[in-house]
């Protein structure tokens, strides 16, 4: 295993604690997605907010510019597809995604 980015044991915090808050912001869990991303068709969307409620990674957030709609955050979305499965109007569907596009615009809506 390459030791790039590894911490020597003496430098670990007591009890392997994370000594600062909010460190999960640095984890780009979006790169777990495999070749596809969920896309919302706002023509079909009825603003029920189910995608926002059920997303296990809080990858949907209210759109400040269009009330009732939700923006998708590709930085966190792991591509689990629960939103695609649960949308009552089938407004969310899969779109092919190239590996190099994973880190593209956060808002895909």
């Amino acid at each position: 295993m390459a030791d790039e980015g590894m911490t020597p044991w003496k430098d670990l915090a007591l009890g392997c604690a994370m000594p600062e808050p909010g460190s999960s912001r640095r984890f780009n869990t979006g790169d777990w997605r495999s070749r596809r991303r969920p896309i919302t068709d706002r023509e079909k969307c009825i603003k029920c907010g189910l995608c926002w409620i059920i997303c296990p990674d809080m990858a949907y957030t209210p759109d400040p510019k269009a009330e009732g709609y939700y923006n998708w955050d590709g930085y966190y979305c792991k591509g689990c597809g629960i939103c695609v499965e649960e949308c009552p109007k089938q407004a969310i569907s899969w779109q092919e995604e190239k590996e190099e596009d994973k880190y593209g615009p956060a808002c895909g809506a």
């Binding site: 911490t7 670990l12 009890g15 392997c16 604690a17 994370m18 600062e20 808050p21």
Partner: protein, 391 residues
């Protein structure tokens, strides 16, 4: 100086926790630990100890509550036994890995089946690798003293590890013994208020107990290992401080009439007192015999042990637990490995005695000596030999 009192050992353990001003006690009652937590519950309810007593629904919850309490920076105590310790199992590793200075009295008892509430060391021997500091008491005074010492060591910023104080169920827990109870001012001077190295503080947030990816797990374990090994000089230092403060001195390995002895008994816990009496008798009978007692079990005091057995021809290692499928009890297995690695080669006889509350008498020790001397002369092995088993 302290007061001379006659007290049940369980109550003395609870009184020690009170003298140490514990902040949180989370415990579930189990024989033979019950009197310890029952008395602590009374002390809290009656306003003699300003602490939170958390009456949890299981030992798994007890240790979990202790982890939370210690992580919040509170001086934390619990106590358990046997199945209760087994139920704590997975959380015990978390307590040491998160470096939480919890103190726990373990009233040693056998494990089921058959159901047995009586003493042996099966419970703690199944928890050898939990990463806790582990000490063994031989009598009531030692239980009291080791409990106070446990807080001092656990909370030292050079240590930050949980400590288990082992006391034999019933043989110690339920016996009234004369002992010296220290004064509050003496304990306060020895053990000042706890200043945690880090704690869950909303003003300075940290996270504890997160995922350790393969890139960090090995380093985390290395840090734990070094912490436990590194606690050794601090444990000794605080025993020296204890001797100065209270006049009673303790060592990681203690000896009795071991000088120039050809054969040494190796014991842990209360069995040591019977053994001392047996050694006296055998010495009177002209036998070259002495005793070595393991007080500090984790981290194991290798050099102290080697110094204590130096020159002995035979060791009689008495295990109070089985390690099924291995050709020796847990203590003998470890000592043989250690001796082999150090190139020291006394004849090591291994007996398993006192399982599930079976008494071990002076006569048993005499028989072990006879058999060991014969076996050593003929080169016959004695290992994992159960004392007094009815054929």
């Amino acid at each position: 100086m302290g007061r001379r009192v006659g007290l049940e050992v369980s109550l003395a353990c609870a009184e020690a926790v009170k003298l140490c001003n514990a902040d949180v006690i989370a415990a579930y009652p189990i024989t033979p630990q019950t009197h310890i937590v029952e008395h602590l519950s009374e002390l809290v309810a009656d306003g003699h100890l300003d602490a939170e007593f958390v009456p949890v629904e299981s030992e798994h919850s007890a240790m979990s509550a202790c982890v939370g309490s210690a992580a919040a920076g509170a001086r934390t105590f619990t106590s358990t036994s046997s199945q209760g310790l087994a139920l704590m199992h997975e959380i015990l590793f978390i307590a040491s890995s998160l470096r939480l200075p919890i103190v726990m009295a373990v009233a040693n008892r056998s494990l089921s089946a058959p159901i047995s509430i009586w003493n042996d060391h099966s419970d703690i021997m199944a928890e050898r690798d939990i990463g806790w500091i582990q000490t063994f008491a031989e009598n009531g005074q030692e239980v009291l003293d080791l409990t106070i010492h446990a807080f001092k060591v656990a909370e030292d910023s050079r240590v930050n590890l949980p400590v288990a104080v082992n006391l034999d169920g019933f043989i110690l827990t339920h016996v009234i013994e004369p002992m010296e109870m220290p004064e509050q001012v003496e304990v306060d001077a020895y053990l000042p208020a706890y200043k945690p190295s880090q704690w869950l503080n909303p003003a300075k947030p940290i996270s504890l107990g997160m995922v350790g990816m393969p890139e960090v797990y090995t380093e985390a374990k290395k840090a734990n290992l070094e912490a436990l090994e590194g606690s050794y000089p601090v444990i000794k230092e605080h025993w020296q401080g204890f001797a100065k403060a209270f006049g009673r001195s303790y060592q990681p390995i203690e000896t009795y009439r071991s000088d120039d002895a050809d054969t040494l008994f190796v014991t842990m816990g209360s069995l040591g007192e019977t053994c001392m009496s047996a050694v006296d008798q055998m010495r009177e009978d002209g036998r070259s015999v002495g005793q070595v007692r393991i007080r500090l079990w984790r981290p194991f005091p290798v050099d102290d042990f080697l110094a204590a057995i130096k020159g002995a021809k035979n060791l009689i290692v008495i295990d109070r637990a089985l390690s099924p499928g291995v050709p020796a009890g847990p203590v003998a297995t470890e000592l043989r490995a250690l001796l082999y690695a150090k190139g020291v080669k006394p004849f090591v006889a291994n007996y398993v005695a006192g399982l599930g509350g079976r008494d071990v008498t002076r006569t048993d020790f005499a028989a072990m000596l006879e058999e060991t001397e014969r076996a050593a002369a003929s080169g016959q092995a004695i290992t994992c030999q159960m004392v007094g088993v009815k054929e």
